[in-house]
Symmetry: C3
């Protein structure tokens, strides 16, 4: 009996399946420090326990994206080991802040499946939930991937394609219990721009850039226990190790501090595309566009919907060409909801 995990193939999935992903993970102040070393992260709520307490939380949570990476990393051996492509995200919600000492695990339900016409691959949709040691959901999201078939003679399953929201409604967003921006200190946070200062359609060039190194993306990706071969093994990909898309997300989000320092917490992920691959040596920059705004009913807290675009070249604010395809310099097109002082 082979002892190593060869991963699931398309024919191994069926709608309704629930996959319990292995290797729970306790996160600590160590992960928090590593996150600050890996990304130019400066959002005050995650940098200062005092700032977090002044905002009604017991201490700084683990960065929302770090929580996402931990939950996501656990799904890789079951969902994307034989994936050809990561196709999209939807309906992502952060449900509870994660604190040092919490232990996270992940589970995924297969909610859709559709064989491609070539008979060699298919699309699998999963709804993944991250749970803490009290079995409370800390986040959830839908992801769909294209997976290879191993047995090409396996019959095509009945196609089920889930109805997914283009974007979460403001009423879908979960505001962390106790959060309160009434006494928000804009000087400490680093910028004076409040929710009311941003206009729908406004675009912000975040100016700063970081040239990516192999050691850094591998440290990050391993930290989240995402061990997909393509990120680490140069003999497997002599053309260059492919950088984990989540590394690009975290880098772009951290760069967005410059212009969006008060978009403190991420609470919703509406969608996202890894438009082009990223390799060591690329210089990551970022720009944002305000897509929507909403009130939340919580004192001082507004919601802002942002498009975060990460690039490795090209001009700021370029996104797609005339054919509707992403420009070659675009790495990431992410659509998320964040919380901001009104």
């Amino acid at each position: 009996m082979a002892k190593t995990n060869s991963g699931r193939f398309f024919e191994d999935y069926s709608v309704g399946q629930v996959l319990q992903h292995a290797v729970p993970r306790t996160v600590t102040d160590g992960e928090r420090a590593m996150y600050h070393a890996l990304y130019p992260a400066r959002h005050a709520l995650y940098s200062s326990d005092e700032f977090a307490r002044a905002s009604g939380l017991p201490q700084s949570p683990l960065d929302d994206l770090a929580a996402f990476h931990v939950v996501f990393g656990k799904t890789v051996p079951d969902v994307s080991l034989n994936a050809v492509a990561n196709l999209g995200y939807a309906e992502g919600r952060w449900l509870k802040p994660v604190y040092a000492g919490d232990t996270l695990r992940s589970e995924s339900e297969v909610i859709g499946i559709k064989q491609n016409s070539n008979g060699k691959t298919g699309v699998v949709y999963v709804r993944t939930r991250g749970l803490n040691q009290r079995d409370e959901a800390v986040m959830e999201y839908v992801r769909w991937v294209m997976v290879r078939k191993s047995d090409l003679s396996a019959p095509a399953p009945e196609a089920v394609v889930p109805q997914l929201k283009k974007a979460l409604e403001p009423s879908d967003l979960v505001i962390p219990q106790g959060l309160n921006f009434s006494n928000y200190d804009f000087a400490q946070a680093g910028e004076a721009h409040r929710w009311g200062d941003y206009e729908i359609g406004e675009k912000i060039n975040h100016v700063d850039g970081v040239t990516i190194e192999e050691a850094e993306h591998m440290l990050a990706t391993r930290l989240w226990q995402n061990t997909a071969k393509v990120h680490f093994d140069l003999t497997f990909r002599p053309e260059g190790r492919l950088i984990y898309g989540g590394h690009v997300i975290s880098m772009a989000r951290a760069l967005s501090f410059n212009g969006l320092a008060n978009a403190q917490m991420i609470v919703g992920l509406n969608g996202g595309a890894h438009a082009n691959p990223c390799f060591a040596g690329d210089t990551i920059k970022a720009w944002s566009e305000v897509l929507d705004k909403a009130e939340t009913g919580v004192p001082g807290v507004g919601a802002i919907r942002l498009r975060l675009v990460s690039t490795k070249g090209g001009e700021p604010f370029e996104l797609k060409n005339e054919d509707g395809r992403y420009m070659p310099g675009v790495l990431l097109d992410l659509d998320y909801w964040a919380l901001m002082p009104i």
Copy 2:
């Protein structure tokens, strides 16, 4: 009086000497997080405090190899600063788990000494013990190194070569107090294979590979306060910084998760050879062979003796050529005992 440490030479050692190694070290959650960033470490007992508690421990210990590296690192200024080669390990035992907050120090007793026939070098055998802040031994091992003489006219000492066990007996192994695998959760651990599923002689190819970067091996080696020049200073070794052998051990052990996810705790080190040097750019892979199995008398806990081979090329399961020499692609040949759910 020279203020810098020029290290001990062969003529400075004598049998019975006890060396108190300097710079005690407190380990924390920071070291735990760094270990997960540096290696694709996924053994559940070290990843999740909850899993550790379900196994009868108070929380996740520091990785056994991290404890080894800290203890080993302290010995370098006294034992291997003028070493020509690290020749072997024997009788290594983990005696007590190390937890965040523990402070480790090391001491070594010289247990053997033998001048080489060339009159320029000799072999020194030391038994090293790691101790915590309560002076409890947390691990011990024998190491022998070839050391240069500084004063070639110094007389050869009487040769003393210790009798060392080829392998620890199962009864030599110390099972951590309270450990209990009766309620072991194989789904959370990541693989279904229990102690009973492994056969003596069975070989496992761990499949995954990691291409090594300079920054990573230096971060790791410094973290254990091993400051041997050969690992850091390219002007000292223009042909390439030599990677600390322990980095290869930890990388190979972490890769062995894929096929040995339930070989949770390392409790014995029977022997080990750094067969060939490792440099940045090498891609490390690993395979294992089951050498022995034993019961431990502790509920649900079995012992498995494994050969862990790390390579940088060549075919899996290649080890030595017809002359009994290690194949050029073999980096490490390690022989250890681990604990596994029965």
Copy 3:
């Protein structure tokens, strides 16, 4: 209204201005571990909580230079974003140890200003203080930088050049409350040389060297939330990312363990020059010169004033050429006070 921070220009400063720097930061055991991974730091007081307690402190503080980097990093967006050069440091004092869990913020007072004769730049002097969550000052220092004017037609301000001490007096130094070296364990600290063993004028070659990697200096610089573009963005500096001067300081200080293992705590910064730029691939070495010695009145604790020189080539003990200019291989010339067992 532009949302991104374009930094202050020379004409934006005036004497008496107080700048509250943004983004407070909680430091933890994670930062402590990262510091040990990034630098070959082995001073026992910072490595072992037990050693710190035997010296009268509650536990190991964060490395003094790490505290400096955190405080310094916060000033970058307000002080040096448009700086042409970092000209000097003076009157730096560590006032209180920083412990895991402390939250640091920084504020700076403009204490001097002088336009250059070219009309395009000027020198700004600031006194920066780092404060913890109890508003206690943990350190302070004066820095002066050359800053560009944006509006060349802005009138030159009245020149104010502060009188700064060439070196702190021993009586200026603040000895941490409770510190006591009466029971100092030299064997654990790693060297036998006490305060009395060092002579004014004595020079020490620290022997060891570290070849610098891009990933490492970026991890370090980000960890201190210093996000100045020049350190990260290769498209901004195609000739090579400039390494944060503080990375060189910390590397040199850590290397100085070999010969100055008992110069445990840094309490004063008399001055410092970043003599030449440092780039990845450079091999950093260090030497020290004893400039002064003083008693402190605290049991067992002496003060030693040291010149720490960091180099990337050249011979040890070379500093300046006949014209009084730094030799091309000199990176850093730092003048500081440390505490040592008498």
